[in-house]
Symmetry: C2
Subunit: 393 residues, 2 copies
């Protein structure tokens, strides 16, 4: 492959359209296919991402502490511009809260290093997401009182997005669990991993789970390889990722259960003849709930980063009451903001209302029982780009 | 002003919405208000910018020569990343041709400097335009075989858009003649510069022209001040700007005549009662056709750049025959791609079809006579950021 020969991943020299279509045919889903719902309408991600906002809020203090304690002073004074990237930023407002927190923490670190008598540098923030992301909305939503120069970067984070050694802090929340594609085997009727009648691996056999896991391992390898080239030595990367605790079975997870519920609605639609069963068989959601161990193993294989911190953010599970309450309507809107694109692409726009109405009803009927039995874990990982000799040594 | 105190222009710390609205009320047109027509439809800029493409084609060899002869070797080897910005890029494809030409010229320069045995650096290209530009279309149109990392930067080039000393080559074509706003006096009934019944200064009295000129002088000052901070010492800036030759009267210009024709159509609509005459009186197109002397004077006032080159590109005037032929239909589509946004904002979307149909008919009727008598000049300016001691000395 040309990418391997030159040491530059595909995204830097993106695929030709024909190759992209071929890849798409293999998997049934093109590589860059599932941006969050754009615009500012009722079902938009902008208005339906309070759960993801929770994670960012819970990670806030961890990121501040990380910058105060783990960001080398050399990083601060090595460049006139401090460059930050948020990968999988979507359309806002969540990305703006996260970035603001990072900028403030770095500013405060500069102010603490007064001995060096230096000026606070300019900040440049790169908001990055799939090309199909609604960047127009992102740009019109940029905070007026921001203290940074903003740029949008389109493309998949499974490949290179930035010049070599150009980033000082990378942030990514609720994004790395998205796979670059549906694993090929799970949509192949002849494969033992064919995922008939289901849309995720949660309640499937081991073959399906292992196909997903293999895809995740490949994707996280590409992700880390690209970031290792883009982040300066000593630079930090904070990842907020929904996942499962070490040693937990993948079926014991709230997010997976959520997909199971959505899958059962799709099968209801198939029974009613609104979609073909075959179409449901060939539909799979390309996300993977990692365990901390899996990320640790990937980081070790990559060799360019040290893991500085792993925390469970203990984001509360939504409940019917309390500060963080939820019902079928809210849950359906949140899920729709995330899933509408991928469902529209595979099925037809027409099924959206019926599908999410079915989901809403089932969600209210089951009264959270399946979610209560499962767990929702959101992990915070802090990685540091090792110095050259450490990385190769 | 806060901007002046901190040395950072307003765009870096954008105005609050209230301030923006106040500024808008003063002029009748908000500061960032006239992106080229987005999308890929019949009247889109993407499909109606062959005239602007001509200018880029005619400047191609000049830019190659500029990079070969005028770009200091120190610039090439001072950073791992070579950063290029295209200001007023619109949605493509023109910006991609321009940027590709620059990247190839810089690559070729690196290859000539083999003695230094260095690797070609990564290229990062910033595509910048108003926030209201259709960046979604720009991003999906990015060439697949590009050899650079792409980013979009929203905002007005009359303010800061990039960190200090971060750009090596700035390009801008058919953009700098756009003013940041309509000069206040020309929409003020009490002013001697009130531009009643006209939409540009072309056939107006001196007061109107001078109000436009004053606005241009202010805008080009802000433009150069911002770029002086963003471009590294020794970095280059290439500007392609429609203008008029030194010593020519502003009425003797094809572009101005074009606006006169459009203005006469608006007055026709007023006579038919489709728009109010008052509405036409308060509508003015915020563009200014500069002369090379005016740019030279602005560069001198600014003090941070040297002018390395001024050329008339001798882009042929469109004709009925030959390679570069045009008729009312084509002329109307081109003008609509550029003007639709600003007209929609001031009047109503409903008048667009009638207005440009009127323009098309008049254009065909007059058989180019007014354009033939005028001239269309497109200037190429090459500026170089002086070294610090030169700039302050």
């Amino acid at each position: 492959m040309a990418g391997e020969e030159t040491g530059i991943l595909q995204e830097a020299y993106p695929m030709k359209e024909e190759d992209r279509e071929m890849a798409a045919e293999e998997t049934g889903i093109p590589q860059e296919a599932y941006p969050m719902k754009g615009g500012d309408g009722h079902y938009s991600y902008a208005k339906n991402s309070t759960h993801q906002r929770k994670g960012i809020d819970f990670a806030k203090e961890l990121i501040k502490a990380a910058i105060a304690e783990k960001l080398d002073k050399e990083i601060l004074f090595s460049s006139k511009t401090f460059r930050i990237a948020d990968l999988g930023c979507s359309v806002g407002p969540n990305t703006f809260f996260a970035v603001q927190n990072i900028v403030e923490a770095v500013e405060s670190k500069y102010q603490h290093c007064q001995g060096l008598n230096s000026q606070i540098p300019d900040f440049q923030v790169f908001f990055s997401d799939h090309t199909a992301n609604d960047f127009n909305l992102l740009f019109t939503s940029l905070p007026n009182d921001r203290r940074y120069y903003a740029a949008g970067v389109p493309g998949s984070f499974h490949g290179r997005l930035f010049p070599k050694d150009s980033l000082h802090f990378v942030h990514s929340s609720y994004a790395v669990h998205w796979l670059s594609r549906v694993p090929m085997e799970v949509v192949n009727k002849k494969s033992r991993a064919w995922n008939k009648g289901r849309i995720h691996y949660s309640s499937s056999g081991d073959e399906v789970f292992l196909a997903y896991k293999a895809q995740f391992d490949k994707d996280i390898e590409q992700f880390l390889q690209a970031r290792a080239q883009e982040i300066v030595c000593g630079g930090l990367m904070a990842l907020i990722v929904p996942g499962i605790p070490n040693g937990t079975h993948h079926s014991q997870n709230g997010s997976s259960m959520n997909f199971e519920l959505l899958g059962s609605c799709l099968m209801d639609l198939a029974r009613k003849g609104m979609v073909s069963e075959e179409k449901v068989d060939s539909f799979n959601i390309p996300t993977y709930q990692l365990s901390p161990q899996e990320l640790e193993a990937a980081v070790e294989r990559n060799g360019c980063f040290s893991i500085e911190e792993i925390e469970d953010l203990h984001v509360p599970v939504p409940s019917h009451s309390g500060e963080y309450k939820i019902n079928g309507q809210v849950a359906a809107s949140h899920l729709r903001a995330v899933m509408e694109g991928i469902i529209k692409q595979h099925f037809d726009e027409k099924i959206l209302d019926v599908l999410f109405d079915c989901y809403r009803k089932k969600f209210d009927e089951i009264d959270f029982s399946i979610f209560k039995s499962g767990k929702v874990n959101n992990f915070f990982f802090l990685l540091k780009r090792k110095a050259m000799n450490q990385a190769t040594g």
